[in-house]
Amino acid sequence: MIKVLFFASLREQLQRDGLEIEAAGLTSVTQLRSKLAEQGATWQSALSNEQLQVALNQKLSTMDAAIQDGDEVAFFPPVTGG
């Protein structure tokens, strides 16, 4: 399984803070993102945001990063702390 997390405005748009998904067939963040976008118009729209950032196992990463069973992948808008 891959643990997927959503934060901030993305979490609000999707009305959930995360989910778990079968790792089978998902070898990159991009594939995971496409798979999630298939769940409907809201998902398609929210995940197509060009500004979307991704963290892989709690480290900032890129969409082309490889993923595997057991990974934690978080999607979120640009950060605004401090």
Binding site: Q58, V79, T80, G81, G82
Partner: protein, 170 residues
């Protein structure tokens, strides 16, 4: 000598005076201590970005922000801040580095973030604070939402291109 790095991500408030004491306690080798504190302002920062009309309320006054809600990514927030502190310690000869970042609802005037660094040289400690704040703003997983009135759904603060640009100078 290993740099003493301490990071806290917490809902509770903090006291900059206590944080200063922590940086100084038994520290006789570093003559320089620099600190940065970020506080919640009482009006939308967009008013300061050249779009005053965006934050004018119906009476023509500035849109006030009574509460700032800070969301964070638990676990990653701590490790991202620790990583930024380590990067600073690799660039400048620092003695101690302390970062505190709050989450949850914060009222106008309250402290959001504390960054402190000690060094033997003043400019190194000042640069380290500037560096840490710049990277924290663009790389640490925190998100701000401004809530004007009770019941208001709030508005997520937009990331500023000036913050991303600030990283380029390092």
């Amino acid at each position: 000598m290993a740099v003493d790095i301490s990071v806290s991500v917490q809902a509770e408030g903090f006291d900059p005076g206590v944080e200063y004491s922590r940086l100084r306690n038994e520290n006789y080798s570093d003559g320089a201590t620099s600190m940065f504190v970020g506080n919640v302002r009482d009006f939308s920062p967009t008013a300061l970005l050249g779009f005053p009309e965006a934050s004018l309320d119906e009476t023509g006054g500035r849109q006030s922000v009574t509460v700032l809600e800070l969301e964070h990514y638990p676990g990653m927030a701590e490790s991202a801040l620790t990583d930024i502190a380590r990067q600073a310690a690799a660039r400048w000869p620092l003695g101690r580095v302390r970062i505190v970042h709050r989450y949850g609802p914060l009222n106008a005037g309250e402290e959001i973030v504390f960054v402190g660094a000690t060094s033997t040289h003043r400019q190194d400690s000042l640069d380290a604070c500037a560096f840490i704040m710049d990277f924290l703003k663009s790389r640490a997983p925190f998100w701000k939402k401004e809530v004007g009135e009770p019941g208001d759904l709030g508005t997520w603060v937009e990331a500023r291109s000036s913050d991303e640009k600030a990283l380029k100078k390092w």
